[in-house]
Structures are given as structure tokens and as C-alpha cells.
Assembly symmetry: D2
Homo-oligomer: 147 residues x 4
């Protein structure tokens, strides 16, 4: 699991006085940086070096998130395919799971514009982080019970 | 169908020199405004008047979107439930379907914090706009063939 | 003068139920695109072709801007220096001047990382658009009186 | 001085492969939260409780900011007026001062829509934090020399 702490800003709220859903998406994006590093240790953002292309994202908005309290973004690798991975992410505030979602990232050649097979050495590093979604849900249930 | 024309700005690109996925989400949000108006004609953003709460969104990123060319956002009501609707949205650039997605909006009381049954008069107006996803896909195929 | 019409989205408001100041800055950025085109007609965003670097921006927030009404962004070239230009911009909503500001753009070589003298052919095109700030203010006064 | 650590996300870069200037503005906004707390300890975002209105902001972009390295936002109260304060802010990355700027916040009644005199008890708390701009610049020079 990868953790990122976020201090919400007023601009990330909207007129309904909660955090706007687009801000959550951008926090999830920031939370994926350590996973990008597995694929591209220098995080060099050139077409030669960058190698991940997002093809799908989905989000569930479970509880409103508020300004004035920090938010924890948790990111898990939950699936490793031949050419893609699925990252499951959560936003927690005040011990509540407020939003979650899945993002599919394809291992990608930005010059040739096609997907590539994930090489073995990257795959091994990803496997160290692989976690089962049921396992995560169980862990969450325990955590929420204890609070 | 509801149309919105967008002129991308540089800040909406990212270092991969395409439009960042979060910008697409915010364009889809702007594209839903005419649907918000069906529920709340004055668009008054108070807890008393605002009545839509997003519980789910998902996006498919089919083609990169570029700075320098306008983008058309198309929004369709594709499902009307008891307490919620599904809005299907597309982003088109240079006659190509570049992204699409579904958003689920719940008819919601922001003071009591619970969902409500969509009243008949709103339901009638929504039905006028209801369109079948297969119908939309067929229309898209024709359109892309002609270009 | 260059005009851009903006349809605000809910995500561009903040909890104070006005448009957040960062959204205004991003609209001004979108409004500068026709000026970028004078310097770089294809708008090609590579280090070889892109040639403008922002070194300063300032904004005055005169009136709150609201969701639900379109906003007009007006952009003027008000100063042409040896290596830089000043762009003055305004945001209008419901016939009111709601925000204005100045941005200084330096003609810049992104490979060598230094400023360059604006070439004569670009300077001529810029001069066609040059407008005096007092002239703009006079025009605004007339316009607001007539509404 | 108030400090905020930021981990940039890819969506905060733009096609020129630096952090986009609008992202810097939004980081500065997040950095002002401890100052908002002096005026409004609960950070309650209602018209009754919120009491700060931005009337001016300006930014100098001194060095490009890059993805992949954390950014430190420093916020100082540099001027306390009768009805307003000036906050000076800086963005530091890799021991370099990359951007700075001033924001003017007016003590404001959002219901009556007018400015108010800052009460004595708030003024005292602000004074504890007041710092001279020359003092800050001297501190910065020393810091950059030592690195």
C-alpha cells in the first residue's frame, strides 16, 4: 500500500461545501506517483521514458469529503495483467472511507503509440505490492470497527 | 443530446503533451449543466435548492486529446431510475470519439442527507431526452464513416 | 481584442458559492491562446517550437463571479517590449467587469533557457493588436453606462 | 512562517513539462489555511462564519518547478492593515526559490457584502506572525548560500 497525505484547499471545494469530485481524482493521481516510480524510477516525463497510459478510471463517492481535515489517499496494486495493471485507490477522512476507485494503466510506448508486455523485472516489483481486494476490504472493516 | 464546445487551455495539458484526464472530467461536469437545469431551473447552489448528488463516475480514454483544437462534449440521459439517472458523455475532437463515460446522479435532499424519488414532472422532462446507448453508438458509427 | 466565452462548471465554484479565483486564472490562460498563435501559429507544444514563458501575473478580483451565467474573457496586448509583452485581461459577467489582470510573457528559447528579442515580423502582428489601457477603460465605462 | 509540503502530481504539469502556473496558485491557496484559522478557528465555510475575501493576487515565476520532487510552500503575514492583510508566499524546490507572490485578503462580511475592521484579538494573533519582507529576503539569501 502507498499512502499520501493531502491538506485540502478551499479551491478544491465546490459550492455544495464539500470537496469537488475532480479534486478527488487529482489526489488519486498524486497517490499513484510511487507506482509510476516502479515503471520509471527517474519519473522522467519524456516520450522516450514515460511508459504508462491510462485507459479507464472509475470512482465511487461514498461520503462527502470536507475542507479543514486532512485526507489520506491509499493506493494498492490489485491486478497485474500482461500489458496492464489495475490500481485500486481510497480516500479516507476522519476514519471514514469516503471514496474509492479503480484505474487501469497500460504499459505503453509513447513513440510507437502501442501497448507493450510488462517486462519480468518490473513484474516482480509489482508482485511484491500486489494485494487482494477482499483482503483490503477486510482490513478496512476491522479498521472502521476499531475507531 | 446536449452539446458544449470547449477551447482547451495549456494548463489542461500535462507533461505528456495531451489533455490531462482530470480536465476531461471537468469538461464532462460543465456539459451536465443543462441536465442540472431540468432538476433545478435557477441552478441555485444552496442546500435547499440543489438536488443532485454524484455517487459514481467512470471514464474510458480512447484517443489522446490535444491542445489547439476545440473539443465537443456530448451529454445524453441514458437511464432514468426511481431515485437516480445515468448520464452518458462523450468528448469529440477532430471528428474522433476520444473519451466517453457514465455518471450516476442521485436525486438528493442535501439538508436531510438522503435520496428522494424523482417527481413525475421532472421525470417527464427527462424522458423527452432519454436516448438508448445502442442508438447513440449507431449514430456515432455513421458519423465517423462520413468523415 | 480577443474574446472567449466560458460556461462555468460547478467544480469551478468553491464553498463560498462563487467562482474560485484559480478558475479565473485558468480562463485567462485559455483566453491567451490567440496571442500564443501570433508567436507560434501551429501551437506546437515542443521545446523547439514553443516560445513564451510567463514571468509575472497579477489579478484584481472586483466582483464575485457566479455559476449559471456565461463569462466573457477579453484579452488585450497593452505593451510590447524588446523581449516581452504584457497582456491585459478581463472577465465579464452580466455586463459587469468582475476581474482583471496583467500577465507578462517573455519571448523564450526553451532549449537554451534564455529570453530572445521578439523578431520584427511577430512585432508587426502584435502592433496591429496593441491597445492603450486608458482607451480600454474608456470603452468599459461607456459600455457599463449603456447597460 | 507557515510551511506546507506538496507532492506534485502529473496533472499539475503542463505540456512544457514544468508545473503549470495555476497549480502554483492553488498550492499557495492551500498554504494559507493556517492563516484562515486565525480568522476562523473552525474553518466553517458558511457566509456567517467565513470572513476573508481575496481582492488581489500577484505572482513572480522565477524558476521552473518540476514533477518528481516535493515543493515547500512558505507563507508569511507581511502587512496588517485596518481591514486587510497581505500574505507573502514562496514555493521552494530543491533548495531554490522558484516562485513568490503577494495576496491581499480583506476581512469581510459575506452576508452584508462589505469589509470590516479587523478586531483587536485577531490583530494580536496576526502581529505574532508579522514578518518584514527584507528580513525574509535576508533569511533566503543565507539559506541559498549555505546549500
Amino acid at each position: 500500500m502507498y499512502n499520501l497525505n493531502i491538506t485540502p484547499s478551499i479551491g478544491q471545494t465546490d459550492a455544495l461545501r464539500h470537496i469537488n469530485i475532480n479534486s478527488i481524482a487529482s489526489w488519486f493521481e498524486a497517490g499513484r506517483t510511487p507506482i509510476f516510480k516502479i515503471f520509471n524510477p527517474t519519473l522522467d516525463l519524456t516520450y522516450k521514458k514515460w511508459n504508462l497510459n491510462i485507459i479507464h478510471s472509475e470512482f465511487n463517492y461514498l461520503e462527502h469529503i470536507y475542507f479543514g481535515h486532512d485526507v489520506e489517499i491509499r493506493s494498492y496494486i490489485v491486478k497485474i495483467g500482461k500489458t496492464s495493471i489495475t490500481v485500486y485507490q481510497e480516500a479516507w477522512q476522519n476514519n471514514k472511507l469516503c471514496a474509492n476507485g479503480n484505474i487501469i494503466l497500460v504499459y505503453y510506448d509513447f513513440i510507437r503509440e502501442n501497448s507493450k508486455i510488462i517486462p519480468e523485472e518490473i513484474r516482480l516489483k509489482l508482485k511484491e505490492q500486489l494485494m487482494d481486494i477482499e483482503e483490503i476490504e477486510l482490513k478496512n472493516k476491522k479498521e472502521m470497527k476499531n475507531k
